[in-house]
């Protein structure tokens, strides 16, 4: 009865079927790309909106995860030795702290930064740098893409998105600088094209070299334009030009360092996804495939993935829920709404199970991709009705290169900064920072 078992969505999506082929292609696999022949450790952050029904998420006492997992986590039962549930983590700066309402936007902005986002619907957005970007600055140097940002919902459409907070806050968990959210891609086809090129396989090496030379010259020219222009602009305007420079540098880096490997991939028989599937679950799974593919080809080691933007009022017709998710999340303890909420929460976890299972199916050396990954899954709001940000629903899947013992429910004192988890994760990949947001140490007993 598990809808994932049918896997009908695989039809026509060559990506999925070609993975075993890909794995055999030594030059492409992450394992071979690393000079030490040790698979790299990846970081992924998967975000779900509107909190989670905690009563059906938290697995009883601390210790080994029980065979009977709570309702929401049940789809992960067979994988229970591959992840940890962490209880008690908190994003202190997701709370109002005097800024009034706007928990959806604020907690999303805070989720990976641990910083209190400046309350504004327009000018001067300000937040902190997120953990994925801190990691990407270091471990991203070695890959074609420093990081990958994906999701299933575009940014906000009109109006301020949440009680005076800009849409930039509620639709982005990844922030490369205080004022710069990293936009995400929501179309699997476009993710694919970005990773592997637009499929013009016939392009010959010589013309590619020539095109790269032309591109470089175009970029040189416009950088000069921008530099001249910047010197004539006021402060605020010239900040906008800085974003421009940053973008140009990113492209240049790719031109200089990395070879286009699309031809090799196409040789492996990988097809392009068609576009955004109409079924939401299929959309999530396909985006998950893209993430895994990017990890596998070692195109990036850092990924953020928003199943939806916070405050999302999507209906889940495919599982018989026609009210909006946000409306339902304000359940007011109404048993009917609570039941719908936990059904949605479980549906999200079913998709997560697909991603984890697939990572586990990919062999890397004598382990699996999952063994070499730290995948954080959870929400920035604990209870959707109370809008609290302590005791957040968080799980961490994967063994981080065998540094992390899994299969546990680890309970921390309530109000332990979630940023301490991020500090521990950064440590484990050798990225040294003194502090992230409100961190005040490392998580004990995890690594």
């Amino acid at each position: 009865m598990n809808p994932l078992d049918r896997r009908t969505f695989l039809r026509g999506v060559g990506t999925v079927m070609a993975l075993p082929v890909l794995e055999k292609m030594m030059p492409l696999t992450a394992l071979a790309a690393s000079p030490a022949k040790v698979a790299p450790t990846r970081m992924a952050f998967l975000f779900v909106p509107n909190g989670i029904d905690m009563a059906n998420w938290t697995p009883g006492a601390a210790g080994a995860l029980p065979t009977q997992l709570p309702h929401v986590l049940a789809p992960l039962a067979e994988l229970r030795n591959d992840f940890n549930v962490l209880t008690g983590l908190t994003q202190h700066y997701a709370f109002a702290n005097g800024d009034g309402p706007g928990d959806h936007a604020r907690s999303t902005a805070c989720w990976l930064t641990g910083v209190q986002a400046k309350k504004t619907a327009g000018s001067d957005i300000r937040n902190g740098i997120s953990v994925d970007q801190v990691a990407a600055r270091e471990i991203g140097k070695q890959t074609r893409f420093a990081s990958l940002e994906i999701g299933c919902e575009r940014g906000g459409v009109s109006g301020d998105c949440d009680s005076g907070y800009s849409c930039a806050y509620s639709s982005n968990i990844s922030w490369r600088g205080e004022n710069t959210p990293v936009a995400k891609e929501v179309n699997p086809r476009l993710v694919f094209e970005r990773l592997f090129g637009n499929g013009d396989a016939g392009e010959e090496a010589e013309s590619r070299t020539r095109r790269d030379l032309f591109r470089q010259s175009v970029l040189d020219l416009v950088s000069e334009d921008a530099a001249k222009l910047k010197s004539r602009l006021g402060k605020r305007d010239s900040q906008k030009l800085d974003e421009y420079f940053e973008g140009v540098r990113e492209i240049e880096k790719r031109l200089q360092k990395f070879e286009n490997n699309q031809a090799a991939l196409l040789a492996a028989g990988i097809g392009k996804p068609y576009g955004i599937p109409s079924d939401y679950g299929e959309h999530i799974r396909l985006m998950g495939d893209m993430m895994i593919l990017a990890f596998q080809a070692d195109l990036t080691r850092v990924c953020t993935f928003m199943f939806a933007n916070d405050g999302s009022n999507r209906s889940y017709h495919q599982i018989g829920i026609s009210d909006g998710h946000h409306d339902i999340s304000h359940h007011g303890r109404d048993p009917k709404k609570l039941e719908k909420k936990r059904t949605i929460d479980r549906y999200h976890v079913e998709q997560l199970a697909y991603v984890i299972r697939k990572m586990k199916s990919i062999r890397e050396g004598d382990g699996t991709m999952l063994d070499n990954t730290m995948l954080v899954y959870g929400a920035g709001i604990s209870d959707g009705d109370a809008h609290n940000h302590n005791n957040l629903p968080i799980l961490v899947a994967g063994k981080a290169g065998r540094k992390l013992a899994t299969g546990r429910h680890v309970v921390y004192p309530d109000h332990t900064p979630m940023t301490n988890l991020f500090m521990s994760m950064l440590d484990s990949v050798g990225v040294k920072v003194e502090k992230l947001g409100d961190s005040n140490g490392r998580l004990q007993g995890l690594f």
Binding site: G100, P101, G102, H104, A121, G122, S123, D124, I125, E149, R154, G155, V157, S158, G159, D160, S163, S166, C167, A168, R176, N179, T180, P181, V182, A183, K184, N187, R194, N198, R210, F214, R215, S217, V218, L219, L221, V222, D225, A226, L229, R232, L233, G234, R236, D237, K240, E243, Y244, E246, G247, E250, I251, S315, S322, G324, D327, H330, G332, H387
Partner: protein, 794 residues
């Protein structure tokens, strides 16, 4: 069931209101808990003289507007909730100690004045100021900001990058290719309700990458590379079938089934000449003969009289398809006589080459000819490229370009030439660079060095602001020419241009981008009502809803009708589907047409199903959302966000058991500000309950009759949408002010500041004197100082 719930909501509101009022007062005059409203009112009466000990009139002898009028008003009517230690909704009106302090805080005071002016404040049940007192307060607040518009500065506009809609439209108008490259760009962030606000539009590395890809794609699409028109296959490039042998320079056909084959991949289908070259080895009584086949069909036969090694060519015209075309030459009449004379024993055929030559004239796309009107004569390529790139850069940068800028674009052309690429490739490269340049991607307004204060925009800057405001695109030839002649700034010319531009099809940009965002129509994308409850609501109908409102908007604009028509215009635009949805008879076909609407059911955007849908939940209406929509977008007094701990926009009172209901009331009792906002939002929404969640008219909900009556905080009562509109029209100036604020925000890409009020006032006054004609309001916006000038940045 449902309507009971709705009625329940009213009652809860009332109950909450009463309870609230008492707890409210408890805060003000420290009454004990549990007092009935009556006793609260009684106490209130006693409290009055206490706060009126120093009557405002007597303190007036000296002092400014602040100490004379504002402070006494606040002490008397506002301070109990918005001052000292009680700061309901986080608002304190007692912090400012002087006129100067209040002037710096003018935004807050303007909000207070708006709420006092439309009687939202003080809430019902508290001592109410007289109309005269209200007016005095509002006037005094006005005087906090600069009264003389000529002294107000023009405001600061942050450099704006093109948003997605503008990028698409600009590319369309610049190169004449309408393939919407920006649809794949990441979403633009939204500020102040619009997605064209300079401050929030950022460039991420992902977007930069998309800009580069899009620029290359646009250049490739706009300029065609020459395609060689003759394709020749010789010896080894040919293939063979049947009895034949192939060597380095030919295919020899040995007997009757031998074939030489050439395959051609044709990019431009059309008329060609198909040609092959070869000779025969003669034997027997006749010459060798061959059949020519094209894609399997015989198209001709040839007798080869020429004998090896003398080569001859044979040809015929044919039409080739796009893609693969297969040309075969087959030997037909083999002959072998071992007894024949030497050299004439064996008849064979040798084919040395097969070629196809295009005979159609070169044809170029419209965009190619637009950018390169005439092909360069040999030797003048570089000059032509320079002329083409100069013109393109001018239009892309929306201003004249310097020699240095052109030379740098030409350096790319030279690079391409050095790589032995054709002329067209070099031009493509220059165009690519122009389209990635910050001068194209950003709408740049550069101030002269060492300038101070504020300045008028240059003619080119003005042309650009104008074209992006009205067309969401770049200036056209005429605007560019007027700017070049420095005529655009002349008031008469400017006005005439606005009128011309509004009549142009590109003015639809205002409907697509301004109206869609002002009315929040883009939320329709994410609105999916429960298909079981609303089975007829499909994507086609959804598009129709959007079309109705946009057509209505364009009608008011193009006909220069009164902006008040947005509230109660007695007409709309319908096609058959939408007419059925509304229950309007005898309209057939997909085409939208103007339909008079004299029924009290429809008329004005509040009766548009688009707006009624986006303010509903997937399963039911939401009076709260509808009320909030009207407050935000019609009255310009958005309710402050709910206080912490209370979710945004939730109608929790519905669907509740008695126990939770009590909990809610407890909550309300503790937080008086719930009431102050919901008493504004909810009644408006109740007045619109005649429309269901997809905007259909109804008089009952699930069998129960509807209660569509509402009472505004100031006690005004109404019933149903018709009376609601009448009430809104009592505040027509407030609506026009909201519209003006929205227009200025959109046109300049920045939020309104207190000092802009003076400009808004004068536009509203002009509109009032001119029957609120909408197109004239657009003219007034364009002629206003903030639009025509800019502050010089430090």
């Amino acid at each position: 069931m449902k309507s009971k719930r709705v009625r329940g909501h009213v009652e809860i509101g009332k109950i909450a209101g009463i309870l609230l009022t008492s707890s409210f007062l408890a805060g003000v005059v420290t009454l004990g808990p549990g007092l009935s409203p009556q006793s609260a009112k009684a106490k209130q009466g006693q409290a009055k003289p206490a706060s009126a000990k120093k009557p405002a009139a007597k303190a007036t002898a000296s002092g400014d507007a602040y100490t004379r009028t504002i402070q006494p008003f606040v002490t008397k009517y506002c301070g109990g909730c918005h001052g000292g230690t009680t700061q309901v909704a986080n608002i304190s009106l007692t912090k400012d100690k002087s006129l100067a302090a209040a002037a710096k805080n003018a935004g807050l005071w303007q909000r207070a004045a708006a709420n006092v002016s439309n009687s939202h404040m003080p809430p019902k049940g508290l001592p109410a100021p007289t109309l005269k007192e209200r007016q005095a307060f509002v006037d005094a607040v006005k005087s906090l900001t600069i009264a003389d518009c000529s002294l107000a500065d023009a405001g600061k506009v942050t450099v704006r990058r093109l948003n997605r809609a503008e990028y698409n439209a600009t590319v369309r108008d610049l190169v004449g290719v309408d393939f919407r490259p920006a649809d794949d760009f990441p979403s633009d962030d939204v500020g102040y309700g619009f997605d064209n606000i300079g401050d929030v539009l950022t460039i991420s590395p992902l977007l930069m990458e998309k800009y580069l890809n899009a620029a290359e794609a646009i250049a490739a699409q706009a300029i065609q590379l020459p395609i060689p028109s003759k394709f020749t296959l010789t010896g080894p490039m040919l293939s063979k079938a049947g009895s034949a042998s192939q060597d380095d320079d030919s295919v020899d056909l040995m007997s009757g089934d031998g074939k030489a084959i050439g395959e051609f991949n044709i990019k431009r289908p059309g008329r060609y000449v198909v040609r092959f070259a070869g000779y025969q080895y003669a034997a027997g009584p006749e010459n060798a003969s061959v059949a020519l086949r094209l894609n399997g069909e015989e198209v001709g036969r040839f007798e080869m009289a020429n004998i090896a090694p003398k080569t001859a060519t044979f040809e015929l015209p044919a039409r080739l398809n796009k893609g693969k075309n297969r040309v075969e030459v087959q030997f037909l009449n083999d002959f072998y006589d071992p007894k024949g004379p030497d050299g004439r024993k064996d008849r064979n055929v040798t084919i040395r080459s097969i070629e196809v030559v295009r005979t159609d004239p070169e044809s170029y796309s419209e965009s190619h000819r637009r950018l390169i009107p005439v092909d360069p004569k040999p030797g003048t390529e570089r000059d032509t490229a320079k002329a083409v790139l100069t013109k393109f850069a001018e239009r892309a940068y929306r201003r004249p370009v310097s020699a240095d800028e052109v030379n740098r674009l030409m350096s790319l052309y030279d690079l391409s030439t050095k790589a032995k690429e054709p002329f067209e490739r070099g031009v493509q490269l220059g165009i690519t660079a122009a389209l990635v340049s910050p001068h194209f991607l950003f709408r740049v307004e550069v101030d002269p060095r060492d300038a101070k204060g504020s300045r008028e925009l240059t003619d080119f800057e003005l042309a650009t602001r104008l074209s992006y405001f009205i067309w969401s695109s770049c200036p056209d030839d005429r605007l560019f020419e007027l700017a070049r002649q420095k005529k655009l700034r002349q008031p008469g010319v400017l006005k005439a241009e606005v009128v011309r531009m509004l009549a142009d099809p590109r003015a639809e940009g205002l409907a697509d981008n301004f109206a869609e965002q002002w009315f929040q129509l883009r939320r329709l994308d994410g609105f999916n009502p429960n298909p079981k409850q609303f089975p007829g609501f499909d994507n086609e109908l959804k598009e129709d809803l959007r079309t109705e409102t946009k057509r209505f908007f364009m009608h008011v604009l193009r006909r220069n009708e009164s902006a008040l028509d947005f509230i109660d215009g007695k007409y709309t635009f319908l096609n058959e589907r939408l007419a059925k949805h509304y229950g309007v008879p005898s309209i057939s076909g997909d085409q939208f047409r103007l339909v008079a609407m004299n029924s009290p059911q429809r008329g004005g955007v509040l009766g548009h199903a688009s707006i009624l849908s986006i303010t509903s939940n997937p399963t039911r209406t939401s009076p709260v959302k509808r009320g909030k929509w009207v407050l935000e977008n019609i009255l310009g007094t958005p309710p402050p966000p709910p206080p912490p701990g209370v979710p945004d926009l939730e109608e929790k009172h519905e669907d509740m058991t008695a126990k939770t209901l009590r909990e809610r009331m407890e909550l309300h009792r503790k937080k008086p500000d719930c009431f102050s906002c919901h008493s504004r939002m909810d009644p408006i929404g109740f007045g619109m309950e005649n429309y269901d969640a997809v905007g259909k008219w109804r008089t009952a909900d699930d069998g129960a009759t509807l209660d569509t009556s509402g009472v505004l905080p100031d006690g005004r009562k109404f019933k149903g949408p018709q009376q609601l509109k009448q009430i809104l029209l009592q505040n027509k100036e407030q609506f026009v002010r909201t519209l003006t604020d929205r227009l200025l925000t959109y046109s300049m890409g920045r939020g309104m500041e207190p000092k802009d009020q003076c400009h808004i006032d004068s536009i509203v006054a002009r509109a009032k004197a001119n029957e609120y004609r909408f197109a004239d309001m657009i003219v007034a916006v364009v002629q206003s100082d903030p639009f025509r000038k800019r502050d010089i940045r430090p």
